[in-house]
């Protein structure tokens, strides 16, 4: 077989033009390997929320770059991120996604570890040589050294010398702050239930789709049409929430020209909200919202409560793997598995101090938008898979990302556009090139 040259920094630069991206960015396993090393291996990556780790011994299993990790709460209250692998013979240790255990036990030869990864006991210690050191790092579950929480959101990085987390998040800390502020008690809890979907496509396709306001008209027309023809307020389950959500994807020229897009450094972006008629937002005669606003005003005062609730930003994309919708209490996480395989984990939040119905609506939103049987997201996923299939099977080189190129402008908030621009994708690829071409971390 022909020996392929290793991919170079110049090769990477050549994959992205101002208005085009080369198919190799999606279809080349070698590019994916480099992404795991230079993006998911060097940037701060969101792993879990602290509300998932209440008690010492609580753990949550997820992935950091190519590595399966356990996020744990130790007896001292600290959060640790451990490779899910026994240092003795390399066995995968934990076989469930979450749980609580004071000790993590390897079933093979019964080495057991504390939640901070340190070795607690080995059976028949006397048969190990005198040089066997229980305290030695090589006999502990390998730790990810850099773990940080931004207000309950736990991030980790394999980078030994990372930039500060808040520097990477940049202005996107605003939207995490806003989510917390929406709780009258200033705290959120993540839902215990969540969906994990796998699609046969590159991870970037999901982020691009989340920033794309041109596609809903076409991709979601089947559910928009069905919802439009259905009677209003017919369901007893959800105050018409499902129907209005489905209908809201019927974008026309008003949405294309009316939704403002913001692109920021480091690949982040957000848009103004389009779920403006009902759906968890201001419903003037809705007793739940009335009660919620009352509690917000009691907690923050009239003016500040109004400020907090006026933030109406949709699909806040925190590059490279997080999509947050504060006003709907929703979050999606992108977990790359291979160049053509990606997991999406979708969860929602409970606002502490808010009426219980607020959380019930967030659960409803989660199911309607992102369940595997969703009448909305299933069509998105289908489209992502068709993109990957086309990119994998046909080697025509270039994809077009030019829409809005002549109209976008820049102001103090970053790049701004109001005309269904592909600017957010260009912002993502700008950051992608920056990250992918840094040879030394």
């Amino acid at each position: 077989m022909e020996q392929q040259e290793a991919i170079t920094v110049d090769d990477i630069r050549d994959l992205v033009r101002p208005h085009q991206v080369h198919r190799r960015a999606y279809a080349d396993p070698e590019v994916f390997q480099l992404e795991m090393e230079r993006i998911f291996g060097r940037m701060w990556i969101y792993l879990a929320h602290e509300s998932q780790l209440r008690k010492p011994g609580a753990f949550f299993r997820t992935r950091l770059a190519g590595t399966e990790v356990l996020v744990t709460r130790h007896t001292d209250g600290e959060v640790y991120v451990l490779h899910n692998r026994c240092p003795h013979r390399g066995a995968r240790m934990c076989m469930v996604d979450r749980g609580n255990s004071r000790l993590l036990n390897c079933p093979y030869h019964a080495w057991s570890f504390r939640p901070d990864g340190t070795l607690s006991t080995v059976p028949h210690k006397q048969s190990y040589p005198e040089s066997f050191d229980m305290e030695a790092p090589e006999n502990q579950m390998q730790r990810v050294r850099n773990v940080e929480s931004y207000r309950g959101f736990i991030f980790a990085t394999l980078n030994e010398t990372p930039v500060p987390l808040t520097e990477q998040l940049g202005e996107m800390t605003d939207i995490i702050d806003n989510l917390l502020a929406r709780a009258p008690e200033g705290e959120v809890e993540i839902s215990e239930s969540y969906f994990t979907l796998e699609y046969k496509g590159n991870w970037k396709l999901h982020l691009e789709n989340a920033a794309d306001i041109f596609h809903p008209t076409f991709v979601h027309s089947s559910s928009v049409g069905a919802a439009k023809r259905a009677p209003q307020n017919a369901s007893r389950l959800d105050s018409d929430q499902t129907r209005t959500m489905l209908e809201a994807n019927g974008f026309g020229i008003d949405q294309w020209e009316g939704i403002r897009l913001n692109g920021l450094p480091n690949g982040h972006s957000y848009m103004s909200n389009f779920y403006s008629k009902g759906v968890l937002v201001d419903q003037t005669e809705d007793p739940v919202m009335t009660e919620y606003k009352k509690r917000m005003v009691a907690a923050y005062g009239e003016e500040k409560a109004a400020d907090i609730l006026s933030v109406d930003r949709f699909n806040n994309i925190i590059y490279p793997n997080m999509i947050l919708n504060a006003q709907h209490q929703q979050m999606r996480i992108t977990i790359p598995l291979a160049h053509d395989r990606t997991l999406i984990r979708v969860q929602c939040f409970r606002l502490k101090g808010a009426p219980d119905e607020m959380f019930e609506r967030a659960i409803r939103f989660l199911s309607t938008l992102a369940s595997p049987a969703s009448m909305i997201f299933s069509d998105d996923v289908e489209m992502l898979e068709r993109c990957q299939a086309g990119l994998d099977r046909d080697d025509t080189p270039w994809l077009d990302f030019s829409r809005g190129l002549d109209i976008d402008r820049t102001d103090e908030t970053g790049s701004v556009s109001g005309v269904a621009s592909e600017m957010p994708m260009r912002v993502q690829f700008k950051a992608w090139v920056e990250m992918m071409t840094q040879e030394v971390a």
């Binding site: 049409g225 023809r229 009677p231 369940s371 595997p372 996923v381």
Partner: protein, 160 residues
């Protein structure tokens, strides 16, 4: 009604439901549901709460009818080409009506779905609350517990 007759009636009803789904007659399928009927597919094994725990599907008749309408939409991407299914039910156990007048039934199921040269298999357990009506029933509640609920799931298009 003796046990064997009831068992037979319920089995016939459940097989009719499966056949309507397999033949793509979703409007007739929806007719099997009572106006206050609910279709529930929990996201977690053993889930008891549909309000504070997410469900794959938790829909009453009006929302189900949107779902059915969408199944007829030519532009539904995930339904192009239209998936074809075989729904198989087995191990059907029937419990005669209690004080609430509802007949309860349980069954295991396998659903094989074929679309664009790919076959997917879904399986699990179905539970029914059936409201006797004339010589047949209407579905007050259908609960579908997928074997892999809580795991990583593929897209679900045709109901089970």
């Amino acid at each position: 009604m003796d046990d064997a007759t009831l068992q037979n009636k319920v089995e016939k009803f459940l097989f009719t439901e499966a056949r309507l789904l397999d033949s793509g007659d979703f409007s007739a399928w929806l007719e099997l549901y009572a106006p206050d009927g609910i279709y529930w597919m929990p996201s977690q094994p053993g889930q008891t709460d549909a309000k504070t725990v997410a469900s794959i599907i938790y829909e009453d008749h009006p929302i189900l009818s949107i779902r059915v309408q969408r199944l007829f939409e030519a532009r539904a991407l995930v339904l192009t080409p239209m998936p074809e299914t075989v729904h198989m039910l087995s191990n059907i156990e029937v419990e005669d009506a209690g004080e609430d007048g509802l007949v309860r039934a349980e069954a295991t199921f396998i659903c094989i779905q074929y679309q664009a040269n790919e076959q997917k298999i879904f399986s699990g357990r179905q539970r029914f609350d059936l409201l006797p009506e004339g010589d047949s029933f209407r579905i007050r509640l259908k609960r579908v517990d997928l074997l892999n609920a809580g795991g990583t799931l593929p897209l679900i298009t045709i109901p089970f």
